[in-house]
């Protein structure tokens, strides 16, 4: 299986290279993907919790903002 392709543009030479990630870059890439996947889940959970709380309180997001202002 090939690694993902990345683009590198040398601004000084104005030269564009599209190449496969090195193993080290791919390892870092996978780590990032995991980190952001986790962040995405956390973000969605947070949004869900917020929506549930608003529903329990029976107010809209704008009304909540007004309360906190």
């Amino acid at each position: 299986m090939t690694n993902p392709i990345i683009r590198i543009h040398d601004a000084e030479a104005n030269e564009i290279i599209d190449r496969e990630m090195t193993q080290a870059e791919f390892a870092e890439y996978k780590k990032d993907q995991e980190k952001f996947a986790k962040q995405k889940v956390e973000g969605e959970a947070k949004a869900q919790a917020k929506a549930e709380l608003l529903e329990r309180l029976g107010i809209t997001a704008d009304e909540a903002k007004l309360l906190l202002a």
Binding site: P4, I5, R7, H9, A11, E12, A13, Q39, K40
Partner: protein
């Protein structure tokens, strides 16, 4: 012999004899001629004159070339070509492609760096767009304050990347309705590099906006930037970088 008050021209005394009149007038005329020439040294169209170090003697300054400005050098006026300054120079235009897009070998000849990323879309799924510098996610401390239409900020949890948008929000993958601007101040500094970032993007078809400011505290000048999306390969979009004097 008497002399005049201002220029010291020699004139006959009140008691001088008439026979000496012609000589006295010639002496006076000669002095007036010399003084007048000393005070008006210009010889050519557009010459100007300024006071020399000798009283009552001016120095001629010939006109400069087109585009030159009058300035001072060594305590006297002189014409000089103004140094080029200010303005923005487009350093690169790069189309986003692949799992990440890096612009490397960024010129170090400018004071500030303006980066604009716009029209970014990706192949596979909604995802986070983010930027990091010098090819490494770690060791870059982006910190600051933000204001946005969401409760989140452009700073990632680990503060090693700048999100193009808010950290809790993915972008719609097919929407090209996004534009982000980052200004790095003193980007060649090896101490702190202040920045401001702002932008707009679409998430579930709604528009979100954000802005933030802070500093990158990495002890190295910024020589490259990488734009990445965790939703898949980039399929469109542009990075433009300008150097600002």
């Amino acid at each position: 012999m008497a002399t005049t008050t201002n220029y010291g021209w020699t004139t006959p005394d009140d008691t001088a004899l008439v026979k000496d009149g012609a000589s006295a007038i010639r002496t006076l005329g000669s002095s007036v001629d010399t003084t007048t020439k000393n005070l008006n040294p210009e010889t050519t169209l557009a010459d100007i004159a300024y006071r020399s170090s000798t009283a009552n003697v001016k120095t001629r300054l010939g006109i400069g070339s087109t585009g030159q400005v009058l300035t001072v050098a060594g305590g006297v006026p002189t014409w000089a070509t103004p140094a080029a300054g200010g303005g923005m120079t487009l350093l690169s235009t790069t189309t986003l492609s692949g799992a990440s897009t890096t612009v490397s070998s960024i010129s170090q000849d400018y004071q500030n760096l303006l980066i604009r990323i716009f029209g970014a879309t990706n192949d596979t799924a909604d995802g986070y767009w983010y930027v990091y510098t010098n090819g490494a996610l770690d060791g870059h401390n982006y910190a600051g304050i933000s204001g946005s239409s969401s409760a989140d900020s452009p700073f990632a949890t680990r503060n090693n990347v700048l999100h193009l948008g808010n950290t809790g929000q993915t972008h719609d993958r097919t929407s090209a309705n996004n534009a982000h601007q980052i200004l790095f101040v003193d980007y060649t500094a090896t101490t702190i590099k202040p920045f401001i970032i702002s932008g707009t993007y679409q998430r579930t078809a709604a528009y979100f906006e954000y802005n933030a400011g802070g500093a990158n505290t990495k002890a190295a000048a910024i020589t490259s930037i990488t734009v990445k999306n965790d939703g898949g390969n980039s399929s469109a979009g542009t990075i433009k970088i300008w150097g600002i004097k």
